[in-house]
Amino acid sequence: MNTNARYPGYDVLAKWDSPSFDDSTRRVLGRRLDDVPPRRFLSEAEWDLLEAVNRRLLPQPDRLEPIPITPWIDAMLMENLGEGFRHPDMPPLRECWRLGLAALADEARCRHGRDFTALDAAEQDVLLQALAVQDVRSPQWQALHPERFFTHWLLKTAAGIYYAHPWAWSEIGFGGPASPRGYVRLGFDSRDPWEARAGKAKDPG
């Protein structure tokens, strides 16, 4: 995949000093771009495992510098700030991530006798897909629901973090922050000059 294939040359951040960005937005995005948090909550092993998982959920072979995902999950756990709800069969936020990662690590050992991080990409994908369809072998999944952990914790969180990053906005041609300028042209095939121009507009990709 070539990151710039659909919207060549488009960079949301080129609008940083334009009327599309206000101070509140620059403050928030400045932190996201420049203040990537260090590991504080997860153990080194947990961090490495989660990093390996995130590389499969959102592979970024096209980027020299990938969009960071694991650091923001660690920060969320450090602040203990989740989505505000959980199923009663799931433990609280921090415990859920800890138990889930431990079960995932055990799942790799049950299946391959090796750590998840030592598996090749195809093996990792097969294992993650097994969680998605609840085909699991580790007894540690008795503590939490594997599909819920995969879909609503690992996948939903990683997807949210990746697509909250300005580089991902440029990739998909999203206009990005638009305050105070907003947009003028709203109809079909209508583009303001400060929006992304598609390289091949009719190519469904």
């Binding site: 998605a132 909250a164 041609g173 206009g175 907003g182 947009y183 095939d189 990709g205």
Partner: protein, 543 residues
């Protein structure tokens, strides 16, 4: 992030100025105010304004912060999760409802700070749905009684809407002209016209021309994450400044924990926690307006020897009959660029199945609207609905600017087993947290299946390719239903508790049925009516 209270020392934030203040009257905790209102959302803010303007002394306790949109609201989905109620809740049942997101609000203005601004009236027959349509339960008031208050709310919010709305009885024109339709809305329009059904521009609570200090909407499209220009006519910018000018006090970051019942059987005030201190505000009347989870939670947490099952709960109905709006969605790719992030997220609506009773295999109704999700929410929906991850997720996301979709607001049946109860677990204030149990009925499922089929046909008629579906819910209603009978309802038709006559409820908890439209306009109209009725009762000495 840590938030600090902003109101106090005789002032409250001026929402229209960065760093601005406006004067605020203050009351002592031991000074019995006429009304202590818990919650500053659509219900509480509106009622605070009405009561203060009628000359009552009012203190509003809001669990969340007092925002200044111009300085606090970034154009960013992630940062703006701060607008949601993120304290832990449990959710279970056959169809557990996702909480904490768009069906919640935290802060002055409540969820109107991030709502889609859809301002629709109920279909008149819904107030008599059992008698006239054969399902649900009748409301204890009629559309005719509500109509003047709908109009009052529409004027107060300066609704921008079409010259003629195709459904429902005629009413006065909307105060502001409708907005230019975006491409996502034009998709719905094109599909509806090809299928021969009516569609309309959504009447929206964001101004299409200047209004006071609100500039016209610039179509930045972050409406669900807070309006950073104040074009949106939220409770935060409409009712709260009016309430403050009329002498109401608003205490931000003030979490109500328990309503105190005096030996005389009347509520004497509210225990609340602010800046780490538990305090007690004395009041002659207490209004609970915390929305359909926090309102029953507060009543259940206020159990006492006279009410061991929860305050004002002799009926046993507090927390029960929870309804939501099922939100089945259909999504498709188009040849044209849609760029659905531009403009308010839901600009076009079809209420055909709210106003058509024939040819249905379900009771109740649904509306559906055009959509405009931003990338973070969209990626999460694509990933979780289609189980897409890895390179396939990134490929699918490349179609962002070519996607369009329709999502329903589908009425679910009020049923006793769908409810809010208390969990053993406690929150950071030491209060038992809410546990929501919810399962769809067969009727609820048939309605959603109908909606998916119908919306899918419309998207395809409009030229959509490779449609797929999603599930969601929005709005939570009905957990302290109003009614005519103390045995079958928690409060009467003006939100007054049958059991504790100086205890009132004023929010979406009141709804006996949920109707097939977004509830905010009806909540605000109900609050206007309750405010009027309280003034009348007070004048008669009947409070």
């Amino acid at each position: 992030m840590d938030y600090l209270p902003r109101t106090g020392q005789g002032r409250a934030p001026d929402v229209f100025e960065r760093g601005g203040w406006m004067p605020m009257r203050e009351y002592r905790d031991d000074e019995a105010v006429d009304f202590a209102i818990v919650g500053a959302g659509a219900g509480g803010s509106t009622l605070a304004c009405k009561l203060a303007e009628a000359g009552f002394s009012v203190v509003v306790l809001e669990a969340g912060p007092f925002w200044r949109p111009l300085e606090d609201f970034a154009s960013d989905e992630e940062a703006q999760q701060q607008l949601y109620w993120l304290d832990e809740r449990l959710t279970s049942g056959a169809d557990p409802i996702a909480l904490g997101g768009n069906n919640s609000g935290w802060g002055v203005g409540g969820s109107t700070v991030h709502f889609s601004m859809i301002s629709l009236r109920f279909r008149p027959e819904w107030f008599r749905s059992r008698s006239l349509l054969g399902y649900g339960v009748d409301w204890p008031l009629s559309y005719e009684e509500m109509a003047p208050y709908y109009e009052e709310a529409e004027r107060a919010l300066a609704i921008s809407g079409p010259l003629r709305y195709p459904w429902g009885p005629p009413h006065r024109r909307y105060p502001y002209r409708e907005h230019e339709m975006n491409a996502a809305g034009l998709v719905l329009a094109r599909g509806a016209e090809r299928m021969g059904v009516a569609w309309s521009a959504v009447p929206l609570a964001t101004v299409s021309a200047p209004r006071g200090k609100s500039p016209p909407c610039v179509y930045r499209g972050f409406c669900n994450f807070g309006c950073s220009t104040n074009a949106k006519q939220s409770a935060l910018v409409v009712w709260i400044p009016r309430a403050l000018r009329a002498g109401a006090e608003v205490r931000d970051l003030a979490m109500a924990g328990r309503i105190e019942l005096h030996a005389n059987g009347l509520a004497s005030g509210v225990h609340y926690r602010r800046s780490g201190q538990w305090r007690f505000q004395r009041a002659r009347n207490v209004v609970v307006a915390g929305y359909a989870i926090e309102t029953p939670r507060l009543l259940l947490n206020s159990s006492c020897p006279s009410f061991p099952q929860g305050l004002a709960n002799r009926s046993g109905l507090v927390g029960t009959h929870l309804t939501t709006h099922a939100g089945p969605g259909v999504w498709a790719r188009f040849d044209e660029e849609i760029r659905w992030n531009k403009g308010p997220p839901n600009m076009a609506v079809c209420e055909h199945w709210n106003y058509t009773d024939d040819g249905k295999d379900f009771a109740g109704g649904y509306a559906f609207m055009s959509q405009g999700p931003l990338p973070r929410a969209w990626a999460q929906l694509v990933a979780t609905s289609r189980q897409l991850w890895g390179g396939r997720l990134r490929e699918a996301m490349l179609d962002y600017n070519y996607m369009s979709g329709l999502v329903a607001v589908a009425e679910t049946e009020p049923r006793p087993g769908n409810r809010v109860i208390l969990a053993d677990e406690r929150d950071r204030h030491g209060l038992p947290i809410a546990h929501v149990e919810f399962s769809y009925s067969d009727n609820d499922r048939r309605m959603q299946e109908h909606a998916r089929r119908y919306m899918g046909r419309m998207l395809e008629a409009a030229g959509g390719k490779d449609p797929w579906t999603s599930e969601d819910t929005s709005h939570i209603l009905g957990t302290c239903r109003m009614g005519d009978n103390p045995e079958t309802s928690v409060v009467d038709s003006i939100g007054r508790s049958w059991d504790v006559r100086n205890l009132w409820i004023c929010d979406g908890s009141l709804f006996p049925t949920s109707g097939g439209v977004n509830p905010s306009l009806t909540i605000q109209a109900l609050a206007c009516r309750i405010g009027d009725r309280i003034r009348t009762l007070s004048a008669r000495g009947e409070l």
